[in-house]
């Protein structure tokens, strides 16, 4: 598998192997603890190839990547399960903390304006950031001071009473305290912000810069085609009045036209 921008797979473990190990259930054996010397672990249940079992840190990294993918796959028509998202996010935090203790993760001081992460940090950070950029950025003009885009429509969206009461203001609000956090923490936090607020995104620049091959990889790995597609109209829906029309399977296609209409209204 080639390395694509925005998604990084541990070098020695191809995705297929990972899956195969998964079904054999040997990757995270019961009571697996941090081991000091990991390479060349013996494994029951054998791999198809002749390669030795990946080291603990590689396994851990794979689990981290899998968890991030799970968190990102929230571009669904129905609101994703909050309990599941919280559990996955907690797992991710656990891994991160352990990696920080190991020293494999250099925690960036919050004040640092830029980041100089290790390779693996870049991978996860880019993974989160690229999806966010795909989903959209705040079209408001004061985004020019470098504040990172606010929340991502289409990600795990749990409505908040606050947003419901005053959708317009909360949608456009920027939380400046969120920027400049350490790479991983930031992306996790942003995922959870989407649970709180659902911002609009501007439709046009959504997929402008994204390598389309990203979606192929996504589809191959997860069986879900670039589901960010579904998110593109969602933010703008916030401006249409809530009606009680029953949904139909053609709702999705109708949204495209509605998007366009509302977008015109909004920008005038």
């Amino acid at each position: 598998m080639r390395n694509l921008p925005g998604f990084w797979i541990p070098k020695d473990v191809s995705w297929e192997k990972f899956t195969k190990q998964g079904t054999q259930g040997t990757m995270f054996a019961r009571g697996l603890k941090r081991k000091s010397a990991e390479d060349g672990e013996d494994v029951e249940g054998g791999l198809a190839g002749a390669q030795a079992m990946p080291s603990y840190s590689l396994q851990r990294q794979s689990l981290l990547d899998m968890s991030l993918v799970k968190l990102q796959l929230c571009h669904m028509l129905v609101e994703p399960n909050l309990c599941r998202s919280v559990l996955i996010a907690n797992t991710v935090r656990q891994i991160q903390e352990e990696m920080a203790q190991d020293g494999t993760w250099r925690v960036v001081a919050p004040q640092a304006a830029g980041r100089a992460p290790l390779d693996r940090l870049v991978s996860t950070d880019i993974l989160c950031r690229s999806v966010r950029e795909q989903e959209g950025e705040r079209p408001a003009p004061d985004a020019g001071d470098g504040h990172t885009p606010d929340l991502v429509p289409g990600l795990a969206t749990v409505p908040s009473a606050q947003a419901l009461r005053n959708p317009q203001s909360s949608l456009w609000e920027v939380d400046s305290s969120r920027e400049n956090r350490g790479g991983f923490q930031k992306s996790l936090d942003q995922i959870f912000e989407t649970l709180e607020n659902k911002t609009s995104g501007s439709v046009e620049e959504l997929f402008a810069d994204v390598d389309s091959s990203y979606y192929d990889l996504d589809a191959v790995l997860t069986g879900m085609v670039g589901s960010t597609q579904s998110g593109h109209g969602s933010g703008l829906q916030a401006f249409s009045p809530a009606t009680a029309a029953p949904p139909s399977s053609s709702c999705r296609s109708d949204l495209g036209e509605l998007d366009h209409a509302v977008e015109i209204l909004v920008e005038t």
Binding site: T19, Q21, G22, T23, Q24, G25, M27, F28, A29, R30, G31, L32, K33, R60, L63, M66, L77, V78, E79, N81, L82, C83, R84, V86, L87, A89, N90, T91, Q94, I95, P153, T157, V158, P159, S160, A161, A163, L164, P167, L188, D189, F192, E193, L195, E196, K198, G233, S234, G235, Q237, A238, S240, P241, A242, T243, A245, P246, P247, C251, L255
Partner: protein
């Protein structure tokens, strides 16, 4: 069950006996409720005693679209809870992710004939043509069971409702979503009281959600709620209006030797149920069922392993999301046994007195009428004996999440995807 694709809408999502056990309600992913009624004893047809037949079917919830968030609200029925019967009609609460409805199910087996003002076909008669008065007579008709929505409790939940529980006062009930629990009066639909709120001010700090909640069966001021971190909080509504501070906190200390990255996920409690006696409660986490004495918060009094052989498969179960499956559990009428589901259409029963447990399978091939269910065994390693099934052959798509036990007799209802199985103890 045939291998052809199962209609998603038919997947059963909740099963519940009423207080007498004569009625059994099921809810499905398509928003429908199907109620079964037990056949009355009939000497001329002794074999039909105890059979459950369809009594009523109605569409409880419809899919909705939330335009504000551009998301569908599923019509799937998450829970059904019966109200105690107070008159000839039956009442139940059914809920999807956002809206709870109170349904009245009533029978009509008589019809009035001989109205004065209208014809038999309903057309109004010309008043001038009426020359004599008659008294309408009640004539028998085919039994008709009608379901009508009497109350709709909406717009009180920002997050997805996972539980409803009727209070022992028979006047109030609670509804719980991921972060909040509300208290309702059955007569009042435009107001509910928030009694638990664990939503952090900053959603970034969210690390725990509510997974289930239930009222105590006898003490109308007491309820419990479970969390995704494997804890249960017991709250007393007399202590304060907002029960954010618990009266009791139940948590078993973690076994450090079995700690893994999946420890928290598998400790998440998917169901909590009080015993009928009100003295115990039971919690279901991913691999086990635990019985707690309400007077002891430090650890459960019993732990029963449901499918410990899955512990070495947690990574693949995490990958295919099965690790997030929410299994329910239930008590027998006398609290002497408990039951919960597993994979491969297996379900498990634990006898608390004899300490024996059994694995049974709900499948058409194995369920001939009036034949006993054969105990099943999962082979965990080494040589597989005849009739055993190996862990790797288990079908993780065939999950039994919902089971129910008759309140008085040994009759159980088991939902296997889109099929409902009803088993009962052989009576000699």
């Amino acid at each position: 069950m045939s291998d052809s694709s199962v209609s998603l809408a038919d997947i059963i999502s909740t099963v519940e006996f009423n207080y007498s056990g004569d009625l059994l309600a099921t809810g499905d992913k398509g928003g429908r409720v199907v109620i079964f009624q037990r056949e009355q004893e009939n000497k001329s047809r002794p074999h039909s005693r105890g059979e459950y037949n369809v009594y009523s079917t109605f569409q409880s919830h419809e899919p909705e679209f939330d335009y504000l968030k551009s998301l569908e609200i599923e019509e799937k029925i998450n829970k059904i809870r019966w109200l105690p019967q107070q008159n000839a009609a039956h009442f139940l609460l059914s809920t999807n992710d956002k809206t709870i409805k109170l349904w009245k199910i009533s029978e009509r087996d008589k019809r009035a004939e001989g109205y004065n003002l209208k014809d038999e076909d309903g057309r109004l008669r010309d008043p001038f043509r009426i020359t004599a008065l008659r008294v309408p007579k009640l004539k028998p008709m085919d039994l008709m069971v009608e379901a009508s929505p009497r109350r709709i409790f909406a717009n009180a939940h920002t997050y997805h409702i996972n539980s409803i529980s009727v209070n022992s006062d028979h006047e109030t009930y609670l509804s719980a979503d991921d972060l909040r629990i509300n208290l309702w009066h059955l007569e009042i639909t435009d107001r509910s009281f928030n009694i638990v709120d664990i939503k952090p001010v900053n959603m970034e700090e969210l690390t725990e959600v509510i997974t289930a909640a239930e009222f105590h069966p006898h003490q109308c001021n007491v309820f419990v709620y479970s969390s995704s971190k494997g804890t249960v909080r017991l709250c007393d509504m007399r202590s304060s209006a907002l029960c954010d501070r618990h009266s009791k906190f139940f948590e078993e200390p973690e076994d450090p030797s079995s700690r893994s990255f999946f420890s928290e996920i598998i400790s998440s409690i998917s169901d909590v149920k009080f015993s009928h006696s009100g003295r115990y409660m039971m919690t279901r986490d991913y691999l086990s069922v635990k019985v707690w004495d309400l007077n002891m918060e430090s650890r459960p009094v019993e732990t029963h392993q449901v499918h410990e052989y899955l512990r070495s498969k947690l990574c693949s179960l995490y990958e295919n999301d099965c690790i997030f499956d929410k299994f329910e559990c239930c008590w027998s009428g006398s609290d002497s046994a408990i039951m919960t589901g597993s994979y491969n259409n297996f379900f498990r029963m634990f006898d608390r007195n004899t300490r024996r447990d059994v694995t049974l399978e709900a499948s058409r091939e194995n369920s001939k009428p009036r034949a006993s269910l054969k105990p099943r065994k999962v082979c965990t390693g080494g040589k597989r004996k005849k009739d055993e099934i190996s862990v790797d052959s288990l079908d993780f798509n065939k999950k039994i999440l919902h089971t129910a036990w008759h309140p008085a007799e040994n009759i159980i209802a088991v939902a296997a995807t889109n099929n409902l199985y009803i088993f009962q103890d052989k009576v000699n």
